[in-house]
Subunit: 185 residues, 2 copies
DNA sequence: GTCTATACGATGATAGAC
DNA sequence: GTCTATCATCGTATAGAC
């Protein structure tokens, strides 16, 4: 299989999802029409349907992209040599939130309540992020607080759970600020 | 103005919003058609439009109803003579969450990211709930921990903020459990 | 692969009788 | 106030040329 062609295909798909996310952040998942995404991406209707089976497929791809991007930021801290303490971890995480992506993220939560495919994506990504947080906190407990690895892992669980919860609440808070307010720091 | 007529009108409106909330919890805000709400309420299309200007108006009414109901539970604790400590407060609050209403609540968050009217309703209700939590925590600090009222109010602020955040995260968690799981306790 | 034009279905909202 | 029947709009998805 020609991997160059595959790479181009992935690039087009990314181009489309990125345009879609911009539209979603403005008008929401369902109120965004294919025509709008067409205009935003600079492509045509036919081209979009050549890369995505239907709109549901496109929404899934966009949801994955947004959630993956957020998880990516987290992954960097987990591998750090000087792990931040939980409060600092949360502060850095929330500081890295992009308002537009926060809106799409919250829209995705809403969609997940009635769409099983989206629900699985969200739950899966949330579990992964919680696991990464667990790694971060464990690393901090071991390297900075000098706990035994076994005990550190155990004590990290409720802490990771709480950090995740506070992060989600912060994401919601940012998503609920009106688009006109988001430039004001 | 005849208040009996007004009361009947309110009753009909409630009947419609309750049916709407049931539909929303199953299919989401946007994917629920007026026809479905018609069937669920046992009324007709014309009757619904006699009580609500349009679908947006109906969604607003439903959002208000759900959020107000959740705030109501909280109001009881604020007036209690033996205020629960923050952990207990959160535990009781989360225990009182109805899965169907949790789903509509999260859907409302999603809608609020792009709909200014809904956004104002959500922000307003959130602020009110946080204020009530503040009252609860202050009452606990004064009556149980025997702090001075002035200091209690000040110390209660970050606590109320955190309880609210954890409550929101728990609401999301419950909303994301699939409808088939919600009977399993 | 990408485009334009179009078919088809669904849905919000209205009209008018009772 | 409530109903049934209907309209008009919009949006997804496809067909077919290039």
């Amino acid at each position: 299989m020609p991997r160059l062609t595959d790479a181009r295909k992935e690039l087009r798909r990314a181009q489309i999802t990125e345009a879609a996310v911009r539209c979603f952040s403005r008008n929401g998942l369902e109120r965004t029409s294919i025509a709008e995404i067409t205009a935003e991406s600079g492509l045509s209707v036919g081209s979009i349907y050549a890369h995505y089976r239907n709109k549901a497929d496109l929404v899934q791809g966009s949801a994955r992209a947004v959630l993956a991007k957020r998880a990516e930021v987290l992954g960097e801290y987990a591998a750090s040599d000087t792990p931040p303490d939980p409060d600092e971890l949360l502060a850095r995480l929330t500081a890295a939130i992009d308002p537009a992506e926060a809106r799409v993220g919250v829209q995705t939560w809403g969609e997940a309540t009635t769409n099983l495919v989206i629900r699985d994506i969200v739950v899966d990504m949330t579990d992964r992020m919680r696991a990464m947080l667990h790694d971060c906190v464990t690393a901090w407990l071991v390297k900075v607080e000098h706990l035994e690895p076994a005990e550190a892992r155990e004590r990290a669980t409720p802490v990771a759970h709480r950090v995740m919860a506070l992060y989600q609440a912060e994401l919601l808070y940012i998503a609920l600020q009106s688009p006109t307010e988001e430039t004001a720091s």
